[in-house]
Amino acid sequence: MDYFYFAVRRLLQALLVMFVISLIGFSIQDNLGDPLRELVGQSVSEAQRQELRDRMGLNDPFLVQYGRFLAKAVQGDLGQSYFFKKPALEVIAAKFPATLELVIGATLIIITFAVPLGVFCAIRPKSWFSKFVMGFSIVGISVPVFLTAIFSIYLFSVELGWMPSFGRGETRNILGWQSGFFTVDGLVHLILPSISLASIMMPLFIRLIRSEMMEILQMDYIRFAWAKGLYSKRVWFLHAFKNTLLPVITVGGVQVGTMLAYTILTESVFQWPGMGFLFLEAVNRVDTPLIIAYIIVVGLIFVVTNTVVDLVYTWVNPTVKLVGQKS
């Protein structure tokens, strides 16, 4: 019951957040520039422009425009993209698989490398390899993602010629999912962008896993485990590692959002046809309906992941007090 009450509360909060996001998103649109500039040629007269603006409803007062937007939004219609001439949500949905692919690729890379490296650094903090990893992660965290991306293109595509330099490659539809995961060409195209995207998150996770695990290794129950004469593997990987994962899940969930933000950079360098690239282009083209739709969709992803993380966290660790729980 408590859990249900908690979930409902979280859901209401999420709705409120979404409303605020839509309001903020909508109110900044006037400062983004004039969409007409991108829709018509330079030599079109001002009178012509005004006529078009009137027809598009851009001259109406803010509240009228926002009311119209909200009325449509609750029905799931976030407006038409000026550039694509299609419903904004449809455009974003069409680009979403590409971004998801990139995020999954990067996540897989992070999990495969960050977990063993982080654990190793915690277990053998004095080894030269640990020191090397920690040193390297400092570099990794400080190099901007677009620099990593451009450098890797230069090295692996231009100089060595091993990797394709841009784009998503061939895709194939399996079980309704059009993805590059199912073709060799698609996978090859994924490598560099995924590594670039992973590069910014990886050091954070290595460091996080290391420090959490080191802390846990100092705890009483681990000492008891040693005293009990358990195998070191069992102590490290079963008892210690399991508890290390708790904070990692929270941070990981929140970082999914940050990762989405970094896809904007990665995608634009690699000309990856995903949501992030779409957003940057939309800003350049002052495609306001698309910008607002993106903000709302990404806001939704943030809210959903945070809520899910909260719920999972309380489930994994029952000692955490639920908000609103009667004590």
């Binding site: 400062n31 030599s43 079109v44 007269s45 001439k85 451009i150 595509s157 360098v269 046809p273």
Partner: protein, 517 residues
């Protein structure tokens, strides 16, 4: 990609000389893909580039700014208001329909309705059918630029675009935003047909089997056009062999592409002038011709071209570039700091004054850096500049509001003619006449207005050139604006893709004639 490259090289080696019959694919990357398949929806470089691939104009520009017939076999002046075009007889549209004079008249009438194009076609009264393969293009007054404008008349398939689409809307409708038949369906007479289009990702073209121009040397049977927004990525795609042809080339990578033995660079002096305008409504001192002259003399535009543009621009002293009717060799750039100081002294402004300046930071090549350089050059004659740069999306509304004392603007003449610069940039601004729409300086000189209007109805090119040269002279003497430079153009391709013969100063390569070895 790599395999493709090797395969092509190997094939070329085996055959010795590649013949034009073999299938060739061109992979090209531009910074953006065309916004619509409708040639009348937006007047922009992207649209014109697409038009030259999928459609054919009546006449087109040659490399030396002359004209060659495309759909028009020949043309002659019937009287001072009428030009008669004889059309080719053997032209088919992609849909299979025959092209006749009815299609051209239909296209012309549609141009007159397009918000973007109707301004250009305002001087024209009508296009009339004479016989199935002859049309008369009639202007309201004698008009010198009939052929110039005819480069914009790309015959559309009137039967294909007539009727109703699945939403019950007219297929001919020009819709700026929202779904429309003509934005996504196309039938022209051009060398290429659109086979697939995913906006913002890829457009593929196939050569049109029934293309009328059998004499064209072009041997490209397929084109894959990918937009690559980021300059460095575009260059990397070319260098790694993933694409065969790119444009534009970022100035920072020119040397690298030129030195690379697998790639070829083609550059050309461009026609887009970059200027600063001095707002006389906002700053009293700018009304003084000596102050304006001082500013023009204080700005080292030669230095800007050399240092900031890395030589990739042509220093300007006037609006129109060489090759245009109004260009005169005598109007040279005039950087002279000592003279600038003297002029300020004469005007009693030795101590200088403060102005605000605005410039975009993603519209023209190096725009923000140029503005910074100009600001620091002006400090030498004690004009203190408060500079603000911003993305173009925010800049244009500010420009329309005339928000700063000095504003940057670049201009390319849609008619490839000198008068167009004055009509938009230096004639007296007025909503009534529509002139001076981009004259943020509010410069006004009755003489300039009179001469430009006079030139609009002069059909003798020699006399007309004299008038336009006089306009440039007046603007020069008046220091009506600050001329900086004309941006150069650059294209790059891998060796064997012969882009040099097909590129031109208008920046729409005639890809139908492209030869790949």
């Amino acid at each position: 990609m790599r395999k493709f490259f090797t395969a092509v090289t190997a094939a070329a080696l085996c055959m010795g000389v590649a013949t034009a019959v073999h299938a060739k694919t061109l992979k090209m990357a531009y910074d953006a893909d065309p916004v619509s398949l409708d040639p009348h929806e937006q007047l922009s470089g992207g649209t014109l580039q697409l038009s030259h691939m999928v459609f054919d104009p009546l006449v087109r520009w040659t490399k030396d700014l002359g004209f060659e017939g495309r759909l028009a076999e020949s043309w002659e002046r019937v009287d001072d208001k009428t030009m008669r075009f004889k059309l080719r007889q053997d032209v088919k549209f992609h849909s299979g329909n025959d092209m006749t004079s009815l299609d051209l008249v239909w296209t012309f009438d549609r141009l007159k309705k397009s918000p973007d194009f109707k301004g250009l076609f305002a001087p024209f009264e009508a296009m009339r059918v004479v016989d199935p393969h002859t049309v008369d293009l009639v202007t309201a007054e004698p008009y010198p630029l009939v052929l110039h404008q005819s480069t914009y008349i790309f015959a559309m398939d009137s039967q294909f675009y007539t009727g109703f689409d699945k939403n019950g809307k007219s297929k001919a409708a020009i819709v700026k935003h929202g779904d429309a038949f003509a934005s996504t369906n196309v039938s022209g007479t051009g060398p290429f047909m659109v086979t697939q289009r995913e906006q913002g990702v890829k457009v593929t073209f196939k050569r049109f089997d029934g293309y009328w121009d059998k004499k064209s040397p072009g041997n490209v049977s397929e084109i894959v056009m990918t937009p690559i927004k980021e300059g460095p990525t575009r260059v990397a795609a070319l260098l790694s062999g993933d694409v065969d042809f790119i444009a534009p080339v970022p100035p920072t990578d020119l040397a690298r592409i030129e030195k690379n033995e697998k790639t070829e660079l083609v550059t050309m002096g461009g026609t887009r002038i970059i200027t600063f305008q001095l707002n006389q409504n906002r700053v009293e001192h700018f009304k003084d011709q000596r102050v304006r002259q001082a500013i023009v003399h204080a700005i080292n535009n030669k230095g800007i071209v050399k240092k900031i543009m890395k030589g990739f621009a042509t220093v300007a002293g006037q609006q129109g570039p060489k090759g245009y009717a109004g260009f005169s060799e005598t109007l040279q750039p005039r950087y002279d700091l000592a003279k600038a100081k003297e002029l300020m002294k004469e005007a009693g402004l030795e101590k200088g004054f403060s102005v605000t300046m605005m410039a975009p930071n993603n519209r023209y090549v190096n725009d923000a850096k140029i503005a910074e350089a100009v600001a620091s050059m002006l400090s030498k004659i004690n004009i203190k500049v408060d500079l603000k740069t911003m993305p173009k999306a925010q800049y244009w509304p500010e420009f329309d509001k005339r928000s700063a004392d000095m504003m940057m603007i670049g201009w390319h003449s849609d008619t490839e003619d000198s008068a167009n610069f004055s009509e938009f940039l230096t004639m007296t601004p007025s909503t009534e006449t529509g002139y001076g729409q981009y004259n943020s300086g509010n410069y006004s000189n009755a003489k300039v207005d009179e001469l430009v209007i006079k030139s609009q109805s002069m059909t003798n090119p020699v006399e007309r050139a004299k008038v336009l040269q006089e306009v440039e002279q007046v603007l020069y003497d008046d220091a009506a604006f600050v001329p900086l430079h004309w941006q150069n153009l650059a294209w790059a391709a891998r060796k064997g893709v012969k882009i040099e013969p097909v590129v031109n100063v208008m920046n729409f390569p005639y890809l139908g004639d492209l030869v790949i070895e």
